[in-house]
Structure formats: C-alpha cells, structure tokens
Amino acid sequence: MRRATVPANALARSAVVLAALAVSATPLQAQSCDPQPGRILMRVRPPGVDFPTPGLAAFDAGFIDSPPFRVQVRNDGPRTPWTLCIRSDDSTLGNGKNISDLQWQLDGTSTWTSFTTSDQFVAQDDRNRNLSLRFRVLLDFAVDTPGLYQADMTWSATR
C-alpha cells in the first residue's frame, strides 16, 4: 500500500478536490453554539471493590485479583464521543505500599496498567458501552507488611 501525506492547503487548489467538495456540499447539520442536548449516564457495579485476603498462593503468584468490575456508559443525544478516565485519589494503598501496585485491566486485553493519581484513559466511544475490568494488587513477601490497605478511585465520564 502506498503511503501518502497530503497537506490540505495544497489540496484545496486541486481541481479534483473542488469537484469532490462541490458534490459533497449538501449542507450537513450545521454546528451551532447553542447548548448541546443530551446526557451521559454512568453506572458501576459493584459500587466498591473488595479483594479477598491473599493467601500463600497469591503471594507465590505475586498478585491477587479482584472480582469483575463493570462500568456502563450510555450516551444519549448527539453522537459525540464520550471519554472515560480513571485515577486513584491516593498515592499509596497505605503502609507504604505505592499506588502503582494497584493495577487495572480491561477484559479482552492483555495489558495491566498501574494506577496513578492522574487521570488515565480507559475508553472512548460514541455508543453505549458495557466495560468489564479487573483489578489486581501486586504482592511481595519481602516488602509487604501485615495491615489494612485501601484507596479511593474516581471514574470520570465526559463528552
């Protein structure tokens, strides 16, 4: 396949483009500066994530997984894409355990992403979507201490 990069300024002078635009100039729905109707609906289930207390096998594996977590985003109104982001509101899980030891993965992908306190891109679409994710906590016998661990996370949906 041939790869071509074409500056549009140059193209605008092209007779072919002018012909194409003339054919395509049937007015599409004009964009105005009026308020845009439509809504975003977001649903998460469950409303919190519990990890089982890790056993020997979990420490041997180096991590423990959460049960599935689901996020639904519905986009009513104009089909302008929505964007879903996630972040942690805490820099640690407590007891000195860095928040990067908490990871998330979208089902159907193979990538585990460590949490940060910055918003991270999760998905973008203009349709309704049901996303299924898993979380995991990385474990290390050498450094993890017995204790209570927790963090807050925030999901952001915008259009």
Binding site: S24, R39, I40, M42, D50, G55, D119, F121, Y149
Partner: protein
C-alpha cells in the same frame, strides 16, 4: 465521603495465612447495589451578555439508593486524540473559573428521582473563549478496600466576543491499520470558538464513482487546538487506485476537505 472504612487486609505472614486458610476470606460484604446516575446536558455554552446567564442541569438517580453528589469546577484540556486531562479550577490557561458558578455544591437525589442544579455565568465579554468543567461527583458509597467515586463532567464554554468558526484539515494521509487502510487526518481550529466537525469520508475510484461512504461522527476541537482522527476505510476494496475524500461540516459557511490518493494491491 463516608467517614468509616473497612479496608481489606494483606497478610504476608505465612503462619497467619495458614491460620486464616480455613475461613471464607472475603472481608467485604456482598455488594448487589448499583450506582447509576445521569447528567443532562453535558455541554453548555454561554455567549456574551451584560447579565448573569444560567442554565439548569438535571441529575437523575437511576439507582436504588439515595445518591449524594457534590458539584465543583475543574478546568480541562483535550489532546490531539481527544483525551481529556483535568486541572484544578483556575489552573487552565483559558479557565472560566472567575465567572462560573454552580449551585448548590452538594445535593441528595432520591432513588428514581431527578434534581436540578444551576450553572450560571457572570456577565461575560471575553476576548478569548474560556472553558471549564463542572463535575457532578458521587461520594464513595461502600467502605471497602477500593472505594469508587464516579463523576460526570459538564463542559462549560464562555464564547468570545465576535468569535468565528474557522477550521481546516491540515494533513491527510493513508496508513496501514490492522483492519486494512486507514485515513488519518488532522483538523485544526485556529478560530476563537470551539467547533464540532462531522461529516464523511468518500472513497472514490479514478472514474469519480463513490465506492464507499463512511460517516465521521462529531468530535470536538478547542480554539487554537487540533485533533488527529483515524478512520478505518474497511476491507474488501478491489485492487486499484482510489481517492479518500474527507469532508467536514463544522458550522462555518464553508466545508473543510482534503483528499489523498492510495492504492490497493
């Protein structure tokens, strides 16, 4: 935010782990509840005015429990791929924070019901468009190890005085994608108002016939910013020479267009 926490426990101590092995070790209670709500509208634009202007946003609780939300202003930016980043109010280069108000700043919505909040703008005569985001954020409802907050953003624009809708496709190229050829183009908005281009990509053969038509769904471009859009052109094109012709309507009195030639071996 709930004041009480019941976090999970990590016990990297082998004897302790063995001692616990006989128990059901889920520390969290079963969670059948769902947290579901919506906000409408999610884009609001205020134009120049000598008076305070306002609009109402509806928050609907589709869940089964009362929904406590707080409302606050952030700033945002959008990169060339459309991903948002969020900043504290006033930190954005074009923040509306000084003239944007949202009231109340906290509200409880009973299950199945809606409540309205007021988004208002002080008198506005800006020479540059400003933009911010009003977040409607739920409080963490379950005191477990990972506590979940949700927030839905309402984009708020204050439109510049005497603004105009300007835009163009500056680059268009064909790239090889996983599913066949992709048209990648960049749309620049050098104007002072935000735009939402939408339109189509036509694939034409060299006889001028349209062999495929692909919708370009609306995407937003902030003033002075650009967006890079990838459009899969699909598989199954017969071997030959083609033109991909994106044409976008962004509200101006002209269309933005380009064309790029490519071949299918």
């Amino acid at each position: 935010m709930a004041a009480r926490c019941r976090p999970h426990t990590l016990r990297p101590n082998r004897p302790a782990l063995l001692a616990l092995a006989g128990f059901g070790l889920f520390l969290g209670a079963p969670q059948a509840a769902k947290a579901q709500y919506s906000v409408d509208p999610v884009i609001v634009q205020f134009s120049t005015s000598n008076n305070v202007r306002s609009t109402a946003a509806r928050i609907k609780n589709d869940g089964t429990q009362p929904l406590d939300v707080r409302l606050y202003v952030n700033d945002f930016e959008q990169d060339e791929l459309g991903t948002h980043s969020f900043l504290p109010a006033g930190a954005g280069a074009r923040s509306c924070e000084s003239v944007l108000r949202v009231t109340p700043d906290a509200i409880t919505v009973p299950p199945g019901e809606s409540r309205y909040v007021n988004i208002s703008f002080e008198p506005w005569h800006g020479q540059d468009t400003c933009w911010s985001m009003v977040f409607v954020e739920t409080l963490a409802r379950v005191p477990t190890g990972l506590r979940v907050r949700q927030r839905i953003g309402v984009k708020v624009y204050g439109l510049a005085v005497d603004g105009e809708l300007v835009g163009e496709i500056t680059i268009a190229e064909i790239a090889s994608g996983e599913g066949g050829p992709e048209l990648v183009f960049e749309f620049e908005n050098p104007g002072t108002w935000p735009v939402r281009p939408m339109g189509s990509v036509e694939i034409r053969d060299y006889q001028g016939r349209v062999v495929r038509w692909i919708e370009v769904r609306p995407f937003s471009v902030l003033p002075g910013r650009g967006r890079r859009v990838s459009m899969p052109l699909g598989q199954g094109l017969v071997a030959g020479e083609y033109l991909a012709v994106p044409v976008l309507d962004f509200g101006a009195d002209y269309l933005a267009g380009a064309q790029v030639a490519f071949s299918v071996p």
